[in-house]
Amino acid sequence: MVDVAAPLVAAAAKPGQFVIVCLSTDYSERIPLTIAGLDTQKGSIRLIWQAVGKSTAELANLKVGDTVENILGPLGKPTHIEKFGTVVCVGGGIGNAPLLPIARGMKEAGNKVISILGARNKELLILEDDFKAVSDEVIIVTDDGSYGRKALVTEPLEEICKGASKPNLAVAIGPGVMMKFCCATTKKYNVPTVVSLNTIMIDGTGMCGGCRVEVGGQTKFVCVDGPEFDGHLVNFDLMMKRMNAYKQLEKQAMENYEQHKCRLKDIGTEAQKNSKF
C-alpha cells in the first residue's frame, strides 16, 4: 500500500475510479490500480495492490520518497451513488481496497451498508477497521477459517438476500470467479448487482480495446464504459479467459526480473543498496 502525491488526480477522483501507473517511460507495462482513498488536502491518493507480476513486484519494492514515472487518471466512470436503501458491499482479497470508498460513499448517502469481506486467510484480510467505520454490519469470511467464518462470501450474501429485508443493491469487487458467483447468487433473488472489473489495460482512454469485455452480448471497453457494469450482464467466463491471456509472458518477465535481482546480489551488496530493486 502506498500514498502517492498526485494533486490533480486527488482533486478530481471519485469513488469507483482508477489510475494507471507507469514505472518507466520506455519499457514498462502500464498497471491499472483502483483508487482506494484520497487526501485532497495533502493532494495524495492511496493505492493498494498485490505483487503478482514483475511490474507490481517492482512497485512493491519502492521505498518512501521514491517516485513513480507517472500516474494517469482518474479514469473510468465514477460509481453511481444515491440512497438505495440497503446496500451489501462484497469484497474479496485486494478488491476490498476499491470497495472501501464506495462503501463510504453509500453510507454517506444515507444507505444501510452491510459489508462482507473475504480473504484466503487472516493475514490477507485488509481494511477491516476502515470498513467497520463505514458499515452498519461487517461480516468476515476466510477460506481456511483462520478468522471470521470459514466460508465463501457467497454464503452470507445468499443469507442476506434470502432474509426478511432483501437488499436494494449489491456491489461486488474481487477476483473474477468471486464476482461471477456473487452475481449468480444475487440473480436468484433479483438483487441488482454492480461489479467493478479490472481487466488488462494499456491506454485507459478507449484507444486500444485491450480492456474489452462482453456485457449483455455487446463489446464494451472497461476504461471508458466502465469499470462498473451490471453484474448480471457480464460474461465472466470470457473475461477470466482474457485475464489469463498474458499469464505465461508475465511469468517470463517475472523470472527475468528475479534473475536480474540474483545477478545484482552477485555483484555485491553495495550495488544492491544503490539499486532501486
Binding site: I202, T205, M207, G209, V224
Partner: protein, 491 residues
C-alpha cells in the same frame, strides 16, 4: 564519376543553356526509392526506405515540367507550392526549397514519408498522365522528404518568430499532428500555449501507431523539442474529460480557447464469434504495445507481454493493416497473412507500403473475409475461418461491393489475429462536455473555421473527420489556429 552523376551533369548543362525540352525530361527514368534489403529488414526496426541521394533528388526534380497550371497543387490538402520548391532542388539550393515547403507545411519530414501521394499531389501530375501511370509521376513526396531530411542533417531549424506575449491562454488537447500545428501557430501569435496529452509520450498516432521502420520517432521528437523551445508547455498523462474537463479548463483554469485534437480512438471489431479469444488484438493495441512499450525488445527490458506470435492473420487493407502485418514480421512471426475483403486495387494503403509488405513475405489473401475465429479449450486462438468473396456492383463509396460466395469457407491455422478495420470516435470528450455537438457517429461537428458548437472551442483531425490522414489533420490544425488567433484578437 558514376553513371547517374554524369547523366545529371549533362542534363544540368542543357538545363542551364535553356535547351532542356519536355521530351528530354520524359526520358529521365523515375528514380526508385533506395530501401533496405527485404530479408535483412525483416529482423530490424530501422527505416525501410532510406531516402534519395542528392544526385537522385536532382534527377527526379529535373523530371518536373513546371506546368503553368500546376495540377499537383490542387491535389495537395495544404497547397504546398510544389513546382516552386522543386525548381531550387535542381539548382541544389535545398534551403530555398525547404523554406517554400515550410510556408504551408510544418511537418515535411513526416508528410514526405506518410502522405498517400499517389492519390493526392501525384495523381494529377502531367508526367504521370503522359505515361498513363501514376507510378511514373514526379515523386513529389520523396523530394519533400529529401529536402526535409537535408534540413534536419544541416540543423536548419529556423526558430519561428514569436510575437510579444498577449497574456491569453490556449489549451491544445492531444499532441498528434493537428495539435502540434495548432500549438506552433498559436504560440507564434504570442499566446501562452499548453498541450495536454493522455499518453506518457507525445506525438499521437505518429509515435504509438505508425511504426519506427516507416517513421523514425526521432523525427517526431525533434518537432516536439521545437515546440518546447518556442515556450509551449507540454503536460503528459493528463486526460481531458477526466483529470480536468474542458469546462474546468475554461472556467477555472483560465484558458481562453481550446483546440480538441484527440484523434479517432475506439477501435472497431467485426462482431464475429471468437473476437474475445486470447490472441485477438485490435491493431491499435498491437501497435501500441510494439511501438510505445517497445515489445520488440521483450526479454531485453521491455515488459509488455505481447504474444510471441508465430502465425498471424491481419484483417484489413489500410495503412494500419500493413503496419500491423509488417510489425508482426519484425516481432518474429513466421507466417503473416493479410486478409482483405476487396481486391488489391481497392486497398486504401499507400502503394509503397503494399509493395514493401509483399517484399517482406506477407501473404495476401484478397477477396476473403473472416467468418469466425476458432479457439482451443483454453480460449486461445488456433484458427481463423474465412469466406471467399467476389466483387459485385459499386457501393456508396464508389468501390465495387464484395459479395460472399456461399459455401466457400476455409480455415487458416493461426495463433494471433489482428483486427485493423478502422476506428469509431472516442466518446470521452463528448460525454464530459455539455453542449458540444456531435454527429451520429460521435465525431465533433465543426464549421469551415473548425469551430465547434461551443464558443472558444475548436476541433480538428481524426475526431472530426473520422480516420483521416496526417496531412488533413495538419490542414485543419492550420485553419483552427488561424481562427483561434482571430478570436483571441477580438477578445
Amino acid at each position: 564519376m558514376d553513371e547517374s552523376t554524369k547523366h545529371l551533369n549533362e542534363l544540368l548543362a542543357k538545363h542551364k543553356a535553356g535547351i532542356l525540352k519536355p521530351a528530354d525530361r520524359y526520358e529521365i527514368p523515375p528514380q526508385a526509392m533506395p530501401a533496405q534489403d527485404a530479408i535483412a529488414r525483416r529482423s530490424n526496426v530501422s527505416e525501410v526506405a532510406t531516402g534519395y541521394t542528392e544526385t537522385q533528388a536532382r534527377l527526379e526534380a529535373l523530371r518536373c515540367l513546371g506546368c503553368k497550371n500546376a495540377p499537383c497543387v490542387a491535389g495537395c490538402p495544404v497547397k504546398i507550392r510544389i513546382k516552386d520548391f522543386i525548381a531550387p532542388i535542381v539548382e541544389g539550393d535545398f534551403k530555398k526549397a525547404l523554406d517554400i515547403i515550410r510556408e504551408n507545411s510544418l511537418l515535411p519530414a513526416v508528410c514526405g514519408r506518410v502522405c498517400p501521394q499517389e492519390v493526392q499531389c501525384q495523381l494529377p501530375c502531367t508526367v504521370g498522365k503522359k505515361f498513363k501511370d501514376v507510378d511514373k509521376s514526379v515523386s513529389i513526396g520523396r523530394l519533400e522528404r529529401f529536402v526535409a531530411d537535408w534540413g534536419r542533417k544541416n540543423h536548419d531549424k529556423t526558430n519561428p518568430k514569436i510575437a510579444p506575449s498577449t497574456g491569453k491562454k490556449v489549451a491544445v488537447i492531444g499532441s498528434g499532428p493537428g495539435g502540434i500545428v495548432v500549438a506552433t501557430d498559436v504560440r507564434r501569435a504570442g499566446h501562452d500555449v499548453t498541450v495536454f496529452e493522455a499518453f506518457h509520450k507525445t506525438g499521437g498516432v505518429m509515435v504509438y501507431g505508425i511504426p519506427e521502420f516507416r517513421l523514425p520517432k526521432a523525427i517526431v521528437r525533434e518537432e516536439i523539442e521545437q515546440l518546447k523551445n518556442m515556450g509551449v508547455k507540454i503536460v503528459c498523462n493528463f486526460v481531458v474529460g477526466r483529470t480536468r474537463t474542458i469546462k474546468e479548463l475554461i472556467e477555472e483554469d483560465g484558458f481562453d480557447a481550446v483546440y480538441v485534437g484527440v484523434g479517432a480512438g475506439l477501435p472497431q471489431f467485426m462482431g464475429i464469434e471468437g473476437e474475445h479469444l486470447v490472441g485477438v488484438y485490435s491493431a491499435n493495441e498491437y501497435l501500441t504495445r510494439a511501438n510505445l512499450m517497445r515489445a520488440y525488445d521483450f526479454g531485453k527490458g521491455a515488459d509488455t507481454p505481447i504474444a510471441m506470435s508465430k502465425r498471424v492473420a491481419v484483417v484489413g487493407g489500410g495503412n494500419v493493416a500493413m503496419d500491423s502485418a509488417r510489425t508482426a514480421v519484425r516481432l518474429g512471426a513466421e507466417k503473416v497473412y493479410l486478409i482483405y475483403r476487396r481486391s488489391e486495387k481497392e486497398m486504401p494503403a499507400r502503394v509503397e507500403e503494399v509493395h514493401h509488405a509483399k517484399e517482406e513475405g506477407i501473404e495476401f489473401h484478397l477477396l476473403r473475409n473472416p467468418k469466425r475465429i476458432i479457439g482451443d479449450s483454453g480460449g486461445v486462438v488456433c484458427a481463423i475461418e474465412c469466406l471467399k468473396y467476389e466483387l459485385g456492383e459499386p457501393d456508396a463509396s464508389g468501390r465495387r461491393r464484395p459479395v460472399p460466395i456461399q459455401g466457400s469457407e476455409f480455415q487458416i491455422e493461426v495463433d494471433t489475429v489482428i483486427i485493423a478495420i478502422g476506428n469509431s470516435a472516442n466518446p470521452l470528450i463528448g460525454q464530459t462536455t455539455n453542449g458540444l455537438e456531435l454527429n451520429k457517429w460521435g465525431n465533433i461537428v465543426v464549421d469551415e473555421k473548425c469551430k465547434t458548437s461551443l464558443d472558444g472551442v475548436y476541433a480538428g483531425g481524426d475526431i472530426v473527420l473520422g480516420a483521416a490522414t496526417v496531412i488533413l489533420a495538419m490542414g485543419q490544425g492550420r485553419t483552427a489556429a488561424a481562427a483561434i488567433n482571430e478570436y483571441l484578437t477580438g477578445k
